[in-house]
């Protein structure tokens, strides 16, 4: 069978396009994965701070928001006792030696990677929902009022 002019070139273009797309998808997922790793580390760091302080202090909250912005994962919501909450000091979780449940302190962070990962489904008419990273954890507060 004869090969027509340009046939190999077309094959080459199609093959490169397909493979580049495949590699891009894998790399894109890997980047999100690494972001998830960073988010987990930050969550753990600030949860440890909360364990000592009994809440997420204003300075820690600002610092956390800045760090999440810096890695391209702006925070959508923060769940947990915050100093900036409406109830003031009553937000603070104290160490209660007689009750484990009263001493539990949690932090839940929802953030949205920016830029969003590419969804191959969008090429064939699928809807591309927002990809979010949701991490959280629970510890026991060790904060004891000093006065």
């Amino acid at each position: 069978m004869k090969i027509r002019s340009g046939q190999v070139t077309i094959e080459l273009i199609i093959a490169i396009s397909l493979m580049a797309f495949l590699i891009f998808s894998v790399c894109d997922n890997f980047i999100i994965f690494m972001k998830y790793l960073e988010v987990q580390h930050y969550k753990f760091y600030y949860l440890q701070r909360m364990r000592v302080e009994g809440w997420l202090s204003d300075s820690d909250e600002h610092s956390m928001i800045n760090q999440f912005n810096a890695i391209g994962c702006p925070i959508v919501s923060i769940g947990g006792p915050e100093q900036s909450g409406d109830d003031g000091d009553s937000n603070r979780v104290l160490y209660d030696p007689s009750s484990v449940d009263n001493s539990e302190i949690s932090l839940n962070i929802v953030c949205m990677p920016n830029p969003q990962p590419f969804s191959p489904l969008s090429l064939i008419g699928g809807t591309q929902g927002n990809t979010i990273i949701n991490v959280g954890g629970t510890m026991l507060s060790e904060y004891v009022p000093t006065n």
Partner: protein
């Protein structure tokens, strides 16, 4: 018009070469991704969860002993056990029966061996160097629990009690950590002042808590699992 190209490639050959050339890196990427996912769960989620659970357990101090300046882990209530199971379950995504909730990375209920170690002794082998002695606060020298399929079993009369306790202040209270799934109750073994070459040795100088957790982590396909084991220990300091 037929015009041969300089590469000498025939129809279809380019495609095959490129598929071979790019498939291998893609497979390598996928393997790295799978291993990373496992690593994240094993080394971050499970390890952190076990560490926080034992820290929470060791935080349950007998108030009388605290006031006396010789703090012990409170075994007169179930606060210590409750703190451990509650923190572990919440961080691993387990329900109250220790079964994985939807979205948890675990494929099944984790298996746990938990030792609460006070060094104080209620009639067990001890010597005058034991700074805690018979606990006047009612705490047990040791409590050992096994949690399998969410069932909490007190196995305190296992191998640890039989070995007794000796000096706290000379640091010869070693525990050897292994995880034998056939005999999980032997996962944490009291070995006195010896340092077995197998397993991991933990030297407890103060009352505290040791735990070993075996968990089946879902692999990246979601259909299979890989078994991993992590341990952690926490001691009361500052006495």
């Amino acid at each position: 018009m037929y015009r041969p190209i300089s590469t000498g490639l025939k129809k279809g050959q380019v495609t095959i070469y490129f598929i071979l050339l790019f498939t291998i890196p893609v497979i390598v990427f996928a393997a790295i991704l799978a291993m990373s996912q496992l690593g994240i769960f094993a080394d971050i989620k499970l390890q952190e969860s076990v560490a926080e659970a034992v820290r929470a357990a060791a935080l349950q101090i007998n108030l009388g002993s605290m006031a006396n300046g010789t703090p012990e882990v409170d075994t007169t209530t179930n606060n210590c056990l409750h703190a451990f199971t509650s923190i572990l379950a919440k961080n691993l995504g387990l329900d109250s029966n220790f079964n994985p909730l939807p979205g948890s990375g675990l494929a099944s209920s984790p298996e746990v061996i938990l030792v609460i170690y006070n060094g104080s002794s209620d009639g067990l082998n001890q010597n005058s160097d034991n700074i805690y002695g018979n606990s006047p606060f009612g705490d047990s020298a040791v409590k050992e629990y096994m949690i399998i399929n969410g069932n909490i079993e007190d196995i305190t009369n296992g191998n640890i009690n039989n070995n007794g306790f000796s000096s706290l202040i000379y640091g010869d209270n070693n525990f050897n950590i292994t995880f034998n799934r056939d005999n999980p109750e032997e996962s944490i073994e009291y070995v006195g002042d010896s340092y077995p070459s197998s397993g991991i040795n933990i030297n407890m100088k103060r009352p505290g808590v040791i735990a070993v957790v075996y968990a089946q982590v879902r692999d990246i396909t979601g259909s299979g699992y890989i078994g991993i084991t992590r341990y952690a220990a926490s001691q009361i300091v500052g006495s």
